[in-house]
Symmetry: D2
Amino acid sequence: MLTISLQPRFSETDALGHINNTVVPVWFETARVPVFEIFNPTQNLTKWNLILAKIEVNYVAQMSYNANVEIRTFVKRIGNSSLTLLQEVWQQDQKVAFGECVLVKFDYGTNQSCAISESEQHSLKKHIK
Amino acid sequence: MLTISLQPRFSETDALGHINNTVVPVWFETARVPVFEIFNPTQNLTKWNLILAKIEVNYVAQMSYNANVEIRTFVKRIGNSSLTLLQEVWQQDQKVAFGECVLVKFDYGTNQSCAISESEQHSLKKHIK
Amino acid sequence: MLTISLQPRFSETDALGHINNTVVPVWFETARVPVFEIFNPTQNLTKWNLILAKIEVNYVAQMSYNANVEIRTFVKRIGNSSLTLLQEVWQQDQKVAFGECVLVKFDYGTNQSCAISESEQHSLKKHIK
Amino acid sequence: MLTISLQPRFSETDALGHINNTVVPVWFETARVPVFEIFNPTQNLTKWNLILAKIEVNYVAQMSYNANVEIRTFVKRIGNSSLTLLQEVWQQDQKVAFGECVLVKFDYGTNQSCAISESEQHSLKKHIK
């Protein structure tokens, strides 16, 4: 499991007094950084080699402004060129949102997917749920 | 079908030179305003009566900064207290992203779902795909 | 004067029930697109030639979610390599925010400012306040 | 001085390969939380008592995605009902952006400014530059 802690931002609240739903995909992207680093250790933006194919978010409970959230990220599936992550938002000991996403290893020069290497697979497997 | 046209914003691009994936849920929320108005015609924030239960976004092609996008919204399913929408992003005659979302009619006072009225059902049915 | 109309987004509200202050710089950037086009007519991202040096925003009145805003942009000063814009947010016939920004014509290859051409000056002068 | 460390988010980059300018006001708002807490210790959203009157940001150098930033906040002036903060973004030992903002103690019920108390002044003075 990969985990980060985030402080919700005032600008992330909405008029209903809770965190706006559109913030969760932003938090999830930030929590994927350790996965980005498996594929691109220095996170050099000119060597980016992942593309997002799909996200899904389930909203379980309203998220508050004034308590930190923990984002937990698990590897659920490793394919030839794609992988599926499961990500969760926890706040005050409650799972308040969760969802899967599919990332594809991608060559931005040729616009084609490419194979996940054995060494990348090995690193990903450490975070299998 | 409900449709709106949006001009991608420079701040919505990312370092890969395209629109960042986290922007699509924001566009989709904006495109749901006509649905919000079916449930709360004046969009009075103190009478809000919908909550988002789930979103899903499939990214089909990279989205450019310098061409407008059209967001198309269809009603896919009307339940007792929830409804499912299908939403699509079109850019330059191509469907570049799509996904479903589930909205629940919700009483923020009692924190409980409530029934979609016949009149609301009637209005929603006009946008069934 | 350059002018655009925008519909405030639900995700742009905050827990105080109005539009969050951090949204105004985003709206102002979007309203600068016609100025970007003077310097880079196709808005080709690989030929970008402006950099932002300074922004200032004065918040005059609270901005509501459920009424469109108009962003007005004026050219205030044209220098050798920089220009100052004045931008205003109007909502329901009231000026609710305003501020200046300074843009510099910039060569991202050499990381140096460069001179605004006569033809660019000519185009900018049409929007002088 | 108040200080927080933030990890730039991928969604905060833009097509020029750096952090978009509109992100700095968001970071600055987040860095003002300790000031919010002086006025509203529990940060209860229904007891909010500050409003933003003005922001100013000077962009000194381009901000990178792959290095943390430190936000430093100083109290510059304490008035009867308003205060001025100076905020700075530091990245890799360089001050990359800075600016002042003016906050007003505000009664959202009556829509009027109100006096900063002696105890609030006392707390603010600890962070005077």
